[in-house]
Symmetry: C2
């Protein structure tokens, strides 16, 4: 089964996990709506401000599962980051005309909050 949405989602994923965030942004629609743990983000610049800093602390990643159909892709992956050794995430991506128009991302903020608190207290 071919999945246009999965093709775009994987291209985006490979770009940002490969530390090529500017290439990743080429798959992001200008009017993207992102549902993140911290809330709703609208537009590519807000999305850049959310995901860009994360790619700066990324040290590794592995894709655990990836599926998709005509319009929707679903990914689960693990990441290694400077503050948190294992930070898995899941994304549901809606793709229209080759661009990601909606992205719902789930991850656990708790270890990031703990690392930030530890750094502040150090």
């Amino acid at each position: 089964m071919t999945s246009p949405a999965l093709d775009v989602a994987l291209s985006y994923h490979q770009a940002w996990t490969g530390k090529n965030f500017e290439k990743a942004m080429t798959y992001v629609a200008d009017d993207i709506v992102c549902h993140a743990p911290s809330g709703r983000l609208e537009g590519a610049e807000a999305f850049r401000g959310f995901m860009g800093p994360f790619t700066q602390i990324l040290t590794g990643s592995s894709l655990l599962a990836a599926f998709g159909d005509e319009t929707t892709a679903l990914l689960m992956y693990d990441t290694a980051t400077i503050p948190v050794a294992s930070a898995p995430g899941a994304e549901m991506l809606t793709v229209r005309e080759g661009k990601i128009v909606e992205l719902r991302i789930i991850f656990d903020r708790t270890p990031f909050d703990a690392a930030r608190a530890a750094a502040a207290g150090a």
Copy 2:
């Protein structure tokens, strides 16, 4: 495309979101390994101790996406709970002989921690 893993994953999901946790447990292998935000859980009883209490605070749910192949299913859903109005989750389930042998669940613990802290301070 038929997916034996997705069939089992959806039966499990419908059971626990339908407040029939004992039926949900019939899809769980005795030797399940669960990767949760709080760490690794081994065995059906440990898994029951993790998911059972969550179903007690569940007030609603909606399945956002579900895909699968022969052995693996991937789900994303939103839940409403007593302490947290919107608590989305994602699960990757590995199925063998009709039972879930491995389940990786991702959700954000932060709002649950905040609700617990607020309740303790009330």
